[in-house]
Amino acid sequence: MIHAFERRPLVLFITILALNLVLLTVQVRSEQGLFLLRKWSLFFVTPVASAMYFVTDKSEKTLRRYVFLRRAQQENQRLLSKNAALQVEVEQLRAMQSMAVRSAHYSLIRRQYLFGTLLAGIIWKSSSFHSDHFGINAGTREGIRRNAAVLSPEGVVGRVVTIEPFGAEVEPITSRGSAVGGVLSRTRLQGVLQGNGSNLLEWKLIPNHERVKVGEVAYTSGADRIYPKGLPIGLVVKSERGEMVYRDISVRPFVDYSRLEEVMVITKPIGSRE
């Protein structure tokens, strides 16, 4: 087919450009709800990324297990001591939980805090300057739904934006256009934290007269109905009087996205009727 255009390359060039432009416009329109093209592309990328992840992960683990055994003894000791500490912590939490269960008053709060999670590995990360999304090796088959909250032990990571049977695409809270409902630990001041594509979140619409101190911790407020209440988001690193009515507040997320390897995805809240 290409030989037909050898003498008229400009025609082919313009045709390809036009097709690409049509593709772009379709997607931009679909931002209101139709994500078919992005979904299809994820469908093709996921198997490749999964295979790569499987091969690299297995090789890495084999190397660590059988080749780099030098630190195994030290590591074993460290893990044993950590395990003992964790057991104590588990007992403490168990005691606290049983106390909470006794009180019927806390039943509603329990429903907000207890949720089912699924551990998923990150199989690809967008290396582009224009996107910071990443893919995980769990999808609809594992019970993950669109807009499911994605967490890590450090705090909130993001939410699922596109989903496939074997994989899903996650949008971090730091992405431009993403937002999370937050509450400050000390003042209990609530608001919306917005991502701007950088490593910091912007806390907007907080009036200048409110006192927000640097070093305060921001937790999820649960108001967005995506992230459960009480999960750590980040630390206030900047709080200055704004030029207009609102304060200029920046929050640094606890999650280090460059070192993230596994995440927890909320499958469904325990006790929910869904």
Partner: protein, 166 residues
């Protein structure tokens, strides 16, 4: 010297680029951010191919890059189609035998690629991240340097050895 790049070779390169992008993003994210591997190969194919083939390959590599970078499909498709097409014509007027001419041409084409992406984002009213110009400059230098090395390796693999003995 004529270098022939066949369909199978292009398909193989597409697979290699896909695998490399995933590997780089996982193990060397800073390099993945600044190195545009699909672009280097589009320039190479464009340099040794006719405009029609160069445009077609540019589009294929661009769409693959879009799928792996998780950006709007067609964004790199447009830019890399243009780069492939331009490169195929550029080789008629420019010679890139040495290190610096190659570095200059690849870096300039990388900047042009970034400029097209920027224009497309503006045209589609999509947000452009802060520091785009700074990022594009570093990307130009890194891709240029990597491109020179990849060109050298590829030439060594593809071109027949010259025999100077009588």
């Amino acid at each position: 010297m004529e270098v022939v790049i066949g369909k199978t070779e292009v398909l193989l390169l597409l697979v290699i680029v896909g695998g490399s992008e995933i590997g780089l993003a996982k193990y060397l994210p800073w390099l993945a951010l600044y190195l545009d591997l699909p672009l280097v190969l589009v320039i190479y194919i464009g340099w040794y191919s006719r405009p029609a083939k160069a445009a077609l390959c540019g589009s294929a590599f661009g769409l693959l890059a879009d799928a792996f970078f998780r950006v709007l499909l067609g964004l790199n498709g447009v830019s890399k189609t243009t780069i492939g097409f331009v490169t195929a014509y550029l080789n008629r007027w420019v010679l890139i035998g040495g290190f610096f001419p190659r570095l200059f041409v690849i870096s300039s084409l990388t900047l042009l690629d970034n400029l097209i992406v920027f224009c497309m984002l503006e045209l589609l009213s999509q947000p452009v991240r802060e520091g785009f110009g700074y990022h594009a400059l570093i990307r130009g230098v890194v891709t240029g340097l990597a491109g020179v090395v990849i060109f050298q390796v590829y030439d060594w693999l593809k071109l027949p050895r010259r025999e100077f003995r009588a």
